[in-house]
Amino acid sequence: MTPARRARGGAGPRADATAPGTRLAPVDPPTTPPEDSPAPAGAELRDLLPAIEPERRLDDWGRSERIEGLFDRTVADFLYHLWFRCEVEGIQNVPADGGALVVSNHAGALPPDAAMIAKAIREEHPRARPLHITVEHFFKGYPGFSALLPKLGCVPAHPANVHRLLCDERQLVLVFPEGRKGTEKLYKDRYRLRRFGRGGFVEAAMRARTPIVPVAVVGAEEAAPIFAQVPALKKLTGLIYFPITPTFPHFGVLGMVGYLPAKFRIRFLPAVPTDDMGEEPWTDKGLVQRVSDEVRETIQAEVLDMVQRRRSVWL
């Protein structure tokens, strides 16, 4: 009884695959943040990824097809078709194979945009590829979220995680470079994109030599508007922020998902290639910042364009 012996892993004994620079280094002040170092000799190591065991219900990231499918058929389906009535443009800009980094604007108290983008790719794309959604590390440490989110395809937003998914596993990864700054902004600041971090997402795409697919989403701001933040309650509950929305906190936990039926419009924009920028472009921080700003400008312009064109928030 030897279930699912490794199917890939064809590479034979290779005595000298470790790069010369990887000799045992003395351990240094452990407080420094981990460098998202590229996997040494990526292409060779890709063959050594663990093969998929078909008997398993979860993958190595903790994603459960069963639970994700259940969520997809019920909640996501309802929201996508009936509640938000999503309208999708430019789905052909999502590559059919290979890794790609999908970059989107981010809004809403408990943002529905990630689930809708994932659903859009599943519904509209000729090859319904799974999307890996990067989320704050906070969710890994908060009970409940920690057990549930990985099952739905969420991955903590660590540079090493993004690199492994993009470069080694050649998957679609969704990032929100605005992060928390995007979701905690108030209703009065709607559709004004925040700073795009420190350009980490561009670095990740460059290292993996995968294209960046910008996405503009309109509707999430109105679906879950935030009128105020309550820092004292945030401290008390240990959440990343404590918003006042039309339904939260007065309807309790369920109020978190009490979305208003705003019309969603999702526009996938032409991909930005990163493999034509020379050797090791990520070492050029200026270039990284420039690409990051360009992507941000593109999304901001598209968002404003879509808001300008729409007749109604709800229809």
């Binding site: 279930p3 005595a15 990985p150």
Partner: protein, 428 residues
Amino acid sequence: MPSRRILITGVSTYWGGRLAQQLEAYDDVEAIIGVDRNPPKVELQRAEFVQVADSHSLIRRIVDAAEIDTLVDTRLVVDSIVTTPRLAHENNAIGTLNVLAACNGPDSPVRKVVFKSSDHYYGCEQDDPAFFTEEMVRPHPPRTSLERDIVDAERSVGDFAARHPDVTVTVLRFANGLGPDLRTSWSRLFALPVVPMILGFDPRLQFIHEDDIVGCLEHAVRHDTDGVHNCAADGVLALSEVVGLLGKSYAPVLPPWGTGVAAAAARRLGVQIPPEMLRQMRFGRGLDNRRFKATGYRYRHTTRETVIRLGEHQRLEPLLRGAGESYRYERELEEFLRYSPSVRANAGRPAEVEGGTGTGDAGERAPRDAAAADRPGYDDLRADEVVALLPSLDQDALRALYAHETAHHGRRTVLRAIERLQRWEAES
């Protein structure tokens, strides 16, 4: 450069003993010397045992006298329930310094050091990557004394490697081991009728089968694998998945806040959850094992298979009780068998100490062979001894054994145990 004269520190640990047994099978290994405070727990044929504490001057004398070219350090305490924090510190931090000091210096014959470490080096934090690679340092300082000691020990090894560029230094960071013969905090937790979990958490865990632990060490001794390597089976499982594979149920009884207090209460009830494990039960940990695979090693079991094996063993355990090995190290006997001129070379145990001529492991391992039933020695085995060996057999061998047993002794305990095993195999 192949290793010919090997010193194993910590030979009384499970993996130290098993490694010595494995290395005995190689003809080109001239000498295997095990040192430890306590005698080995497994039966060794030609490996020699010297009972010394990890004091560097004593080990140095052995290294020089026996011209040791390879040192394998399997001494590290990686599970904080086996000893007190003070002794663990003494063993892990100070002991490592001493052992390395014994192979220090320009005139040392040691050309290769293999150090068994643990993935507790990386710790468990909220902002960890999903798969640790070897270059990553932990994002936060160590949280428990055991983690601190392991980081200390690795720092000593790193310093040693930096000072001795001509010595091949291999550090193997093992994931939590699981297997029928291993007693760890995790295997104790999984032996409970209901496995406790922290409410709202379902961590990702990775294990390594006990045979693979020995296999990795053996591979590192036989090949030149310079640098740090993660050793963990393929596949990362969620804790709920592990419990499901074991055929048990889980209970999220530990509260997400004040978990430490609850763990202390559980200790009163006899369920020991060390602090490292508590953090793993919250955040989990995954390792990128590809670098060691790139050196040519292939894991025999995936994490899933490892857990399934453990489940099979757990179900068989009531049958095995009392049939366990009764090996005890007796100095006079071992010395007589190795050195007395009255012992004949192939009678029972080979007596060569050096330059073994390939008698290999035929004597000790015979009953483990698939064709056990055809071996002349089989009929002398007691029923409980046969039952103890059954899990190592595959389907065909079980069938052959069943036929043989029906034809000859027809012992009901044996027959029933085989039937049970076959049923489980069929089910899983």
